[in-house]
């Protein structure tokens, strides 16, 4: 889309952020009573709900049972009202299946599945409002839900998308920027060890610029992890204060 200036000369983006600035992240853990773990997360205008059930006995096809570790089952969906255009979203179209697959892959890397042989962990994520960075918001929300469920993980998994405009990386793209045809990179990171659980990049980019993009994405992920960390500690204290009284 020509004519849309994604990064002004003064270094501001269309929504007034600086290049490396994240959107505001707000989150809450334990939003549902029925589920083993649940979380709600807002990152700017993108809002997601994540629910975790398990670990529990394998339901459905027994043939998927693994005798050395738990099976992770992810489902990603978008509410019909999540985008500007109201759209019926049938289950299992390519994009959402792929997203489910990526979520699964991300959490298989982070959750210590070997502790729960023969069981299954379900992670359901729903996008309530979509404004770019759906994958990263889902990962961040699901991380909180998994922690809420008391399922052991190596570390938080934090994800962030990064774009590349005018030789400089932009952190945490919103929808206008994402659809503006910039090359974007989604990265899921375990911040403490710096391990990458998922890396995905779209659109053309010269290989010499990849370094700076990954670097920016990692910094952004670490920023997200700080916020998540605060949320978890806050939640931890609230609950433990209640139960200690």
């Amino acid at each position: 889309m020509a004519g849309l200036e994604l990064l002004s000369d003064q270094g501001y983006r269309i929504d007034g952020r600086k290049a490396t600035e994240l959107r505001k992240v707000q989150a809450r853990m334990g939003v549902f009573a029925q589920a083993d773990g649940s979380a709600y997360l807002e990152q700017g205008n993108t809002k997601a709900l994540a629910v975790v059930y398990g670990p529990h006995e394998m339901r459905g096809s027994r043939s998927r049972t693994r005798h050395d570790r738990a099976v992770i089952n992810c489902q990603y969906s978008m509410a019909t009202f999540s985008t500007a255009e109201r759209k019926r979203r049938p289950h299992g179209d390519r994009k959402s299946t792929e997203m489910s697959l990526h979520l699964k892959q991300t959490f298989e890397a982070a959750i210590m599945t070997q502790l729960y042989p023969r069981s299954q962990i379900d992670i359901y994520v729903k996008i309530l409002q979509s404004d770019g960075g759906n994958y990263s918001v889902c990962v961040n929300a699901a991380t909180l839900a998994v922690i809420d469920a008391g399922i052991p993980m190596r570390d938080y998994v934090c994800a962030c998308t990064v774009g590349f405009v005018d030789e400089s990386p932009l952190a945490d793209l919103c929808y206008a920027e994402e659809s503006g045809g910039v090359s974007s990179l989604a990265l899921a990171l375990l911040p403490r060890s710096g391990q990458i659980a998922l890396l995905q990049m779209d659109a053309r980019l010269h290989q010499d610029n990849l370094d700076s993009m990954i670097e920016a994405a990692m910094t952004a992920c670490k920023g997200v992890s700080k916020v998540l960390d605060e949320v978890v500690r806050q939640h931890l204290q609230e609950v433990s204060v209640l139960s200690r009284e």
């Binding site: 083993d36 773990g37 469920a149 938080y156 911040p191 433990s240």
Partner: protein, 293 residues
């Protein structure tokens, strides 16, 4: 019909006392607990480059050299001797599968139940065929954990008259961490009902039985109508338990009883209103403190 409506109110922020606001024993996944190699790795931790690291969010517990992290909320982790309440999900060859809020379905072997006819009865092939007559899918049972398999699944037994099939009553599914471990988890409350506080977070409320039928072997369920007053007591207890659970108060016979007593002035249906709930729980906590102190 009168409907009760309320407007949304702002959630009250929990006030932290100064001492609790920076507690050192709360950890989140990835936090390094200690880099001293002298400690032993317990549940909820893992070793990463010689550092003992937490894998769940919760409080650190140390017993001698063993360090564990107990998550705030988790599925039931069974231990031998626990009393559980569960639901039969499947009838298999010589065993029942029981859902106990554990991470794998528990097993109740045909050989670890008391069949009608006394302790010494042999189990014949016929018993295997008629297993469904004793317990079928959907039945609720109370049982004790006999052993834990290597993969974490529980093996149950009902070889005592106090365990067995549950008849008329109300089941509550709460968090296992709210149940206080005690000598006995079966209580005949003086308010006129009985309670089984399963270690797995399943709580069973039922009218106090008059006389235990000796011959039934735990498979007899009374279908006699329960009187209205008994039902009211049970409903009140249920709402009290929910109120306590909502405020994360540990559940055991005294706390339940105190809560019941403090709720008497309210109607049963009103107990679950947030402000009433708060009031009752406050009263209960005061009584508990008085009793302790």
């Amino acid at each position: 019909m009168a409907a009760d409506m309320r407007l949304p109110t702002a959630r009250k922020a929990v006030s932290f006392s100064v001492s609790s606001s920076d507690r050192k024993d709360l950890v989140v996944p990835g936090d390094v607990i200690t880099s001293d190699t002298g400690f032993m790795r317990g549940h909820g931790t893992y070793v990463d480059e010689d550092k003992l690291t937490a894998s769940v969010a919760g409080d650190v517990q140390r017993v001698d050299k063993l360090i564990c992290v107990r998550p705030l909320k988790t599925r039931y982790n069974g231990e031998v001797g626990d009393v559980v309440v569960g639901r039969i999900t499947e009838v298999q060859q010589k065993r029942w599968k029981v859902e106990t809020n554990s991470r794998l379905d528990s097993v109740l072997l045909l050989s670890s139940v008391n069949l009608p006819g006394g302790e010494l009865r042999r189990r014949s092939a016929e018993d295997e065929l008629t297993m469904r007559e004793y317990l079928q899918e959907g039945d609720l049972i109370s049982a004790e954990v006999q052993s834990v398999f290597s993969d974490g699944a529980l093996s149950l037994h009902t070889r005592s008259l106090k365990y067995g099939k549950l008849g008329q009553g109300v089941l509550l599914q709460l968090s296992p961490s709210l149940i206080k471990r005690q000598k006995t988890h079966f209580h005949n409350l003086p308010c006129g009902a009985s309670i089984i506080l399963g270690n797995n977070g399943f709580v069973w409320l039922y009218p106090t039985p008059e006389q235990q039928e000796e011959e039934a072997g735990g498979f007899y369920t009374s279908l006699e109508p329960v009187s209205l007053s008994d039902r009211e007591v049970i409903s009140r207890l249920r709402n009290c338990l929910l109120a306590l659970a909502a405020h994360k108060v540990l559940l055991y016979d005294t706390s339940v009883l105190y809560c019941y007593e403090s709720s008497v002035q309210h109607q049963v249906k009103d107990i679950l209103k947030p402000e009433v709930m708060e009031e009752i729980v406050m009263l209960t906590q005061q009584k508990l403190l008085e009793q302790e102190g």
